[in-house]
């Protein structure tokens, strides 16, 4: 083989080797993470504490509210971070406070029901909790979705002296 051919063959081999090695190493495997459908219920794990239940209720409520509003869970989460973010979101999607409050309440109700169905919440807690979240004002609803722990605290307050037994009502 003369030098000219050797040079061309060498160039082809080097190029194919590089592309082949990078492909084998996963060079074409990246696909951007897409937002999941918020209307589809996410699987519940077995929570070991009230704190973990609160976490899952928060996420489930966020999904439920996002589903009601027709946006992704991530978009709604960012909208709830600050007052300004909420205003930008309202302007962009044409969603007023009343509609947002309604969606978040619906999300919270769905989350409590999901938790009850998954066996994470006893019907003794789920019932009053559902009634409680059905009528709460927007700011409080946002606070509950941001911090599931405050939801548990609300139940504790609702139950009054019996609230101390809450841990024991876990399934």
């Amino acid at each position: 083989m003369n030098r000219a051919r050797l040079l061309i063959v060498g160039a082809i081999v080097a190029s194919l080797a590089l592309v082949g090695v990078y492909l084998a190493a996963g060079g074409a495997s990246y696909t951007p993470e897409k937002s999941k459908n918020p209307c589809k219920q996410r699987p519940w794990t077995n929570p070991g504490s009230l704190q973990e239940i609160a976490q899952q209720i928060s996420l489930s409520a966020l999904d439920g509210a996002a589903c009601e509003l027709g946006v992704s869970r991530e978009t709604l989460a960012r909208a709830l971070t600050t007052e300004e973010a909420r205003e930008r979101f309202a302007k962009r999607y044409g969603i007023d406070d009343a509609k947002l409050a309604e969606a978040i309440r619906a999300g919270l109700v769905r989350a409590v029901t999901d938790a009850e169905r998954a066996g994470a919440l006893s019907p003794l807690i789920a019932g009053p909790l559902r009634s409680f979240v059905e009528d709460i004002p927007l700011d409080q609803a946002i606070e509950l979705i941001k911090n599931g722990s405050s939801l548990i605290e609300s139940v504790r307050n609702l139950l009054g002296p019996a609230g101390d037994l809450l841990e024991q009502l876990l399934p």
Binding site: R3, A4, R5, L7, I8, G10, A11, I12, A14, S15, L16, L18, V19, Y22, L23, A25, G26, G27, A28, Y30, P32, E33, K34, S35, K36, A54, Q55, S58, L59, L62, S72, R73, E74, T75, A77, R78, L80, T81, T82, A85, K146, N147, G148, S149
Partner: protein, 457 residues
């Protein structure tokens, strides 16, 4: 014509050619800095690069004709003076529009200086072949060193210093040439040197344009990926992209062993495409992974550019005109590459940003950290992405201060790393399509290379 010892003049002419052709790429590493400082868009800032190359492409042949008409010594001296003056204007610009206008004027002066230099060199070095080698080598050296020098100056001084430092260098290069200009004014030596201009080598110039488009894309996109995507400093990026000129040196030695210009051109185009293919398929966001593709691009560009320039100039006279055609083809290729790929990668970067924000929010929401912390982190990470104007941010500060509880701390650190990995992979992916298209362009250059073989060689 010789009014002084040729060595300083050869050095001055080589310096002029290197300086002007370096200017095509010297600003590449400064673009992110200019983009932020002049508060423009990515598409807008690419015009700092496109304007220079466009005017070079359009002005190279007319400039060569002017140089032959009015005397190459005078043309080179005037060209360098215009180049220096416009460089000063570039350095003093505080708006994108004035910077772009100054870059256009700089390219006009540059075109005049470079083509006139090729007309002056044969008489200075003794033969047209030797002149072509000096001219091509000076240009290749300038183009290869340009990005690294630009990156160093941007980091150590400012982006303006890239242009300001050119002023004394250009004027210094003009000094030995002034003697030739004075001699021309006295003797009027132009007419006897005028010869009939032959037809330019069409396919070699088309191939040069296509390969130059692919190479420009490689350099420009890689710099953007390193600085905007992976957050390297201009000096860091300059060091990384220095692999390409170093590999080009190896390529030029390698080319010396093969006589066939078409074999060198074909092998070079294949290597450039292979390297770009590698950059399109980077498995992860690691600087070391850009080294093998850069080696292929560097070796390839040196083989293909020298072989095609040699083919375009070979046996054709006058050299200045045909040199003008090669300059025109190369710079037109750069413009076409940037114009074709800029909308694609700017769209992909914008899309990647939305994906990155969503992916980042999803990672935070699904993490085991405490809910209130999740909301705070979501807000901070979104703010960081906004603050960086599209640049992929270092999100570490968004996670400060770390929780004191060891378990929460470990969870937060893991979350931070997962999130940064998502952002880095997204940024890398945003460039894949553009690198892939540039690779295709390099491969398509094999068609004119093959046609050049059949029709004209």
């Amino acid at each position: 014509m010789s009014t002084q010892a040729p060595r300083p003049r050869v050095a001055a002419l080589a310096l002029a050619v290197g300086l002007v052709l370096a200017d095509s790429s010297v600003v590449v590493l400064a673009l992110p800095e200019i983009y932020r400082e002049l508060d423009t868009s990515v598409a807008g800032v690419t015009w700092v690069l496109i304007s220079f190359n466009l005017v070079m492409a359009l002005a190279a042949v007319p400039a060569a004709l002017l140089a032959r008409r009015f005397g190459p010594g005078r043309a080179a001296a005037v060209g360098l003076a215009i180049f220096a003056g416009a460089g000063l204007a570039c350095g003093l610009s505080d708006q994108l529009s004035t910077l772009i206008v100054a870059r256009c004027v700089q390219a006009l002066g540059g075109a005049l200086a470079v083509t006139a230099a090729l007309e002056l060199l044969p008489a200075t070095v003794g033969s047209e072949r030797r002149a072509a080698v000096v001219w091509a080598s000076a240009g290749a050296t300038g183009a290869a060193l340009g990005p690294a020098v630009g990156g160093l100056l941007t980091e150590l001084v400012s982006w303006q210093s890239i242009f300001l430092i050119q002023v004394p260098v250009a004027l210094g290069a003009a000094v030995p040439i002034l003697a030739v200009a004075r001699h021309e004014a006295v003797t009027g030596i132009i007419e006897p040197e005028l010869r009939r201009t032959g037809r330019p080598h069409f396919w070699a110039n088309v191939a040069l344009a296509m390969v130059s488009a692919a190479i420009a894309a490689a350099l420009f996109l890689l710099v953007l990926l390193l600085i905007e995507g992976w957050r390297l400093s201009p000096i860091g990026a300059a060091i990384v992209v220095s692999v390409m000129p170093l590999a080009a040196l190896v390529g030029s030695r390698l080319g010396g062993y093969v006589e066939s210009a078409r074999a060198r051109a074909a092998a070079g185009a294949i290597l450039v495409s292979g390297g770009l293919g590698g950059l399109a398929l980077l498995p992860s966001a690691e600087v070391a992974l850009t080294v093998p593709p850069q080696i292929l691009v560097g070796v390839g560009l040196s083989l293909v550019l020298s072989a095609l320039t040699e083919t375009a100039l070979g046996g054709r006279a006058p050299q200045a005109i045909h040199g003008g055609w090669t300059i025109s083809a190369r710079h037109a290729g750069v413009v076409i590459g940037l114009l074709a790929l800029t909308p694609i990668f700017t769209h992909d970067i914008a899309e990647q940003r939305v994906d990155a924000i969503n992916a980042g929010t999803a990672v935070i929401l699904d993490s085991p950290v405490e809910p209130l912390l999740k909301i705070k982190l979501t807000q901070k990470v979104t703010d960081r992405l906004d603050e960086e104007k599209g640049k992929v941010p270092t999100i570490g500060p968004a996670f400060e201060p770390l929780p004191t509880d060891p378990r929460e701390r470990a969870e937060t650190v893991q979350l931070r790393e997962e999130l940064q990995d998502q952002l880095n992979r997204g940024a890398t992916h945003a460039f894949s399509l553009s690198f892939g298209l540039a690779a295709l362009l390099g491969l398509l250059a094999l068609i004119p290379i093959a046609l050049a073989r059949r029709v004209e060689l």
